[in-house]
């Protein structure tokens, strides 16, 4: 049995240890912050001068709205912008579709329970990793050189990235599939592709769909910015507006983008709910 004094001293010791760890951790974090603030030229004076400027900038993007005519004048380019938004949505849609197709094809080779060899699995996984780690914008920059300016480069850049992220998620879904149907199909002499198609895919499909829809929402956001490197869509228009200090246009286009993204998120949430409900009933 330990006496009260033992307990007290052990408690003191534990407290002291904890305090020391906390102090050391705090010092490390503070030092890291100091170094990183210095390297990223985070100057408090410039920051203090800059922040009001940011508020000012944002205020300038919204004109005085006293009547419907003012609103009409603010959104003077609405027809053109809506067309560009449609282009952005088309880019996101095609990229999601292509990415989903590639990801679904590769997801069986990348799944631990389905890959035919360790080589197949490792190679597929590395390829998917590469596709999702290189930023979309980097792919876009390179594809613009290869495919020329315009939405096609954007579609492919987003598709590669989508395939990488979806492929990983899909393979995890496949790994969670019940192996009963797989074993029974194999017993009937079905080949690997047939097993994947008829035993695993029916189980995984609802999750695939729901992930793809989520990816579409993400792709719409990304598609609105990859226009910055010259692949069309609303992003390119925004880029010019920002560069030429067309404050009101910047505000109007940003408002359109935020509205579209929010609307798609809301609809997507509903749809994904439906899909996963259906998935719960189907099997």
């Amino acid at each position: 049995m330990r006496s009260a004094e033992d307990f007290d001293s052990a408690w003191e010791q534990a407290r002291r240890d904890k305090r020391r760890t906390l102090a050391a951790g705090g010092a490390i974090v503070a030092a890291l912050f100091a170094v990183s603030a210095w390297r990223s030229e985070l100057d408090p004076v410039r920051l203090a001068e800059g922040l009001p400027g940011i508020v000012d900038y944002l205020r300038q993007t919204i004109p005085a709205l006293r009547s419907a005519a003012d609103l009409r004048e603010w959104f003077w380019g609405l027809d053109r912008w809506l067309l560009l938004l449609a282009e952005t949505l088309a880019i996101a849609f095609l990229a999601t579709l292509l990415g989903t197709a590639v990801a679904a094809l590769l997801s069986f080779s990348a799944a631990r329970n389905l890959a035919r060899s360790r080589w197949e699995r490792t190679l597929t996984r590395r390829a998917l990793e590469l596709a999702r780690t290189v930023p979309v914008l980097v792919f876009a920059l390179i594809f613009v050189v290869a495919f020329g300016g315009g939405p096609l480069a954007g579609v492919l850049a987003l598709a590669v990235h989508s395939a990488g992220s979806l492929g990983k998620l899909f393979s995890e879904v496949n790994e969670n599939a019940g192996m009963g149907p797989v074993d029974s199909l194999r017993a009937t002499g079905a080949g690997w592709a047939q097993t994947a198609r008829y035993a695993v895919l029916p189980q995984s499909l609802p999750s695939f769909l729901s992930y793809s829809m989520l990816r579409f929402e993400i792709n719409v956001r990304s598609a609105s910015v990859i226009g910055f490197v010259g692949v069309g869509g609303i992003g390119q228009e925004l880029y010019y507006a920002i560069r030429q200090f067309l404050y009101h246009d910047v505000g109007a286009i940003l408002a359109l983008i935020v509205l579209t993204v929010t609307a798609i998120d809301l609809v997507g949430e509903k749809l994904r709910g439906l899909v996963s409900d259906g998935g719960a009933i189907a099997p």
């Binding site: 890291l32 390297r39 990223s40 800059g50 088309a90």
Partner: protein
Amino acid sequence: MTGAPMTAVPMTEAQLLAAVTPPFADRLRLRAAWTGLFALTAFCAWFVDLSPARLWEGFGKLGRLVWLMLPPDPAGFLGEFAAALAETLAMALAATLLAAALAFPLSLLGARNLAPHPGLRFGVRRLFDLLRGVEELIWAMIFVRVVGLGPMAGVIALTLSETGMLSKLFAETFEQAEQRMVDSLRAAGANKAEVVRFAVLPRALPVMASHVLYFLESNVRSSTILGIVGAGGVGFQLADRIRVNEWRQVGCLIVLILLAVATIDWISGRLRRRLIEGGKSAA
């Protein structure tokens, strides 16, 4: 299943087929969905000018570009590249720490069990939804116009768009605090700060740290591209080398980015695992 006794009834092939074929309405719905998807895809492909000839030509060119990147070679710019990469990491770290520092007080306002006023909570959340609805790259580009070229614009952009998300996550962590502990501290006469310090923080801290690390990983990815619009970091070098067709240097930069991302992910993953284990043993 109709509940009929399972006896071996001989079935003709036609009966068997009829038994496994889905009802007509389901088949119709499926066919309609496929047709719709196909039509939408065809329309989008036409809209973005996607033609087999362009694809063929582009992929040929892309293959040549990749060939030109091999082997990656810094060509004497390794020092410059390393400095740019360090700037990228510094931006990510500074923004993450700043966002965490800003998110902490905001999350106290936002947590349902601690918030002083529900209206305030609503306002704070909507403001951050708006900041998050616009991509970081767009903010970065705007801030470059306001505070000038350089990493500070990037840090502000990253900080602003992550603070909202982080304070939401922090608030949710606080809401999971055990009400019994909060109540008993209040009953013992503790004031608000003491309740937060002794009832809420001890359990929330590891989870919060884990969220912060996760955001660090995400910020490292984001900060690699901010340079493309002049907001600091390695993205500037990347866009520049693509512009002047120095493909082996481009290859080298991509490899460096991948290495940096992988290293940060690895370190952060290890730290997060330790935090989770530490949190478990403390509880």
